[in-house]
Point group: C2
Chain length 288, copies 2
């Protein structure tokens, strides 16, 4: 089976989806739109899309499946704009890292969450952004999480599942609330902490020393601090209700460590480090 695809937003994720779906023989025509004219031109030059369209409405006109690969804070407005043009045969999905607040904003913009919208999130981003880093294999063996609302059309969910399977992803389904709590922890919190470490180190040490003596541990730790600040401001702001309590727990944990060190107590320090190592070592085992 092969479908026609509209790609709204052609960055690292969107571009990788297009490459992957074409390689799988799943998409025979890919219509693209990006608010950034340069990004749109690049996508056409790189053969990510077959046709560069001047508006989202034009891009979706002949597409069965519509992928909104734009930041979370843009999804509601795009849905509102497209809603009058969506036909019963069409399916719309997104790829954002925040789900509940996006569904809320769609409900506000459209008066309801349309049955044609299937909220999705592939767990496959990297610190890179832009279609120039697109790779068709990006989603292979990675999870793609769908968080349908009560009224989401089951047939549309099936179509989005099918698309991700073509890309080699492993499908999971959960509530938007469960998703947002989970990714506040495993993704959003680490990003905030990595950004924070870079800023603190730059404030405390000369950049030349940082560049010279940053060993593997620091470079790996802070790799995600190279992530797109626009996107991550958006994600952290949108998911703040889930993220803030985790960040507060973290602050509290650091506070405790500081007190332990101030009191020169090594036992609680050792206990914390040992339990952390135990947990981290477990993450190296293959996922169940």
């Amino acid at each position: 089976m092969s479908i026609s695809l509209a790609l709204i937003g052609i960055g690292h994720i969107g571009g990788s989806m297009a490459y992957g779906l074409r390689a799988a023989g799943t998409a025979h025509a890919i219509y693209g739109y990006d608010a950034d004219a340069d990004a749109l031109k690049l996508a056409r030059d790189m053969d990510i899309i077959d046709a560069a369209c001047e508006t989202p409405e034009a891009a979706i006109q002949n597409a069965e499946l519509i992928v909104l690969a734009t930041p979370p804070n843009t999804i509601a407005e795009i849905c509102r704009q497209l809603e009058p043009h969506i036909t019963p045969a069409q399916t719309v999905t997104d790829v954002g890292s925040v789900k509940g607040p996006v569904l809320d904003s769609i409900a506000q913009a459209c008066g309801h969450v349309p049955a044609w919208f299937v909220p999705g999130h592939p767990i496959a981003g990297t610190e890179k952004s832009g279609a120039q880093h697109a790779s068709g294999g990006l989603f292979r063996n990675r999870y793609a999480v769908l968080t349908p609302a009560d009224g989401t059309d089951p047939a549309k969910i099936e179509q989005v599942r099918w698309m991700w399977e073509q890309l080699g992803a492993r499908l999971e389904q959960m509530s938007a609330a469960q998703h947002d709590a989970l990714f506040a922890g495993v993704s959003h919190l680490p990003h905030v902490l990595a950004y924070a470490l870079m800023n603190v180190l730059a404030q405390e040490l000369p950049t030349t020393d940082l560049k010279r003596y940053a060993a593997g541990g620091l470079l790996d730790f802070t790799r995600i601090a190279s992530s797109n600040p626009d996107l991550w401001t958006d994600i952290c702001h949108a998911n703040r209700d889930q993220l803030m309590p985790m960040l507060e727990q973290y602050r509290h944990h650091i506070q405790n460590l500081l007190e332990t060190m101030r009191d020169e107590r090594t036992e609680p320090l050792h206990k914390a480090f040992a339990s952390a190592k135990r947990i981290r070592d477990e993450l190296n085992d293959p996922a169940p």
Copy 2:
């Protein structure tokens, strides 16, 4: 030129030095001692050392260069124990991540910092520990930092420099105080933060979810949380005077981010993320 070597403590670092020096044709005889009998046997079985000795004194008897590859909190006692046996031709160096407090503890244990002791620190550790992970190429193109005291014998410094050059390392020299402030930032702080993140996530989320959804960012971020908790308790405790102010700065930065998020101000969040990205991107450039 080829020398005889004594290796006191045969873990990841010590084992890698032995392999590398032998491969370079630099060490013709390697005498080893480890307080852990199993580690000593392993080192002999892996041909890391030529002779397994029952005491540090026996190990150093025929060695020109003596490497103390044991944790920081053991160095002073080993120096005190060895001092009566060290001959004028012998040189002793260490490999620990903390320098000032170790020199202080040696001064306390021996009544002075002996001229034969050259404090050293190769910037090449990984989260792995134990000689089973030893690799002769571990130090190639990595920095080795020496932090001689006022009374350190210049000829001994030269010998230790020569040894690191044989291992392919790039030599740097600085004061112990400068070293400890620098590595509190680029190494000790990230370790504490990675350990802390693992503990907070384990407290907030089910382990099965952590294992399933930990994407590349989180795994890279927390890789160093697999580091040896005994060693890192020792390092963080020994260097607490430098580490605590940095950790306090970090706590303060997190506090500010929390307040920004609480007030729903996205501009300071974006500014912080953007400056962090700018700094992190710079670290990808080749070191000067």
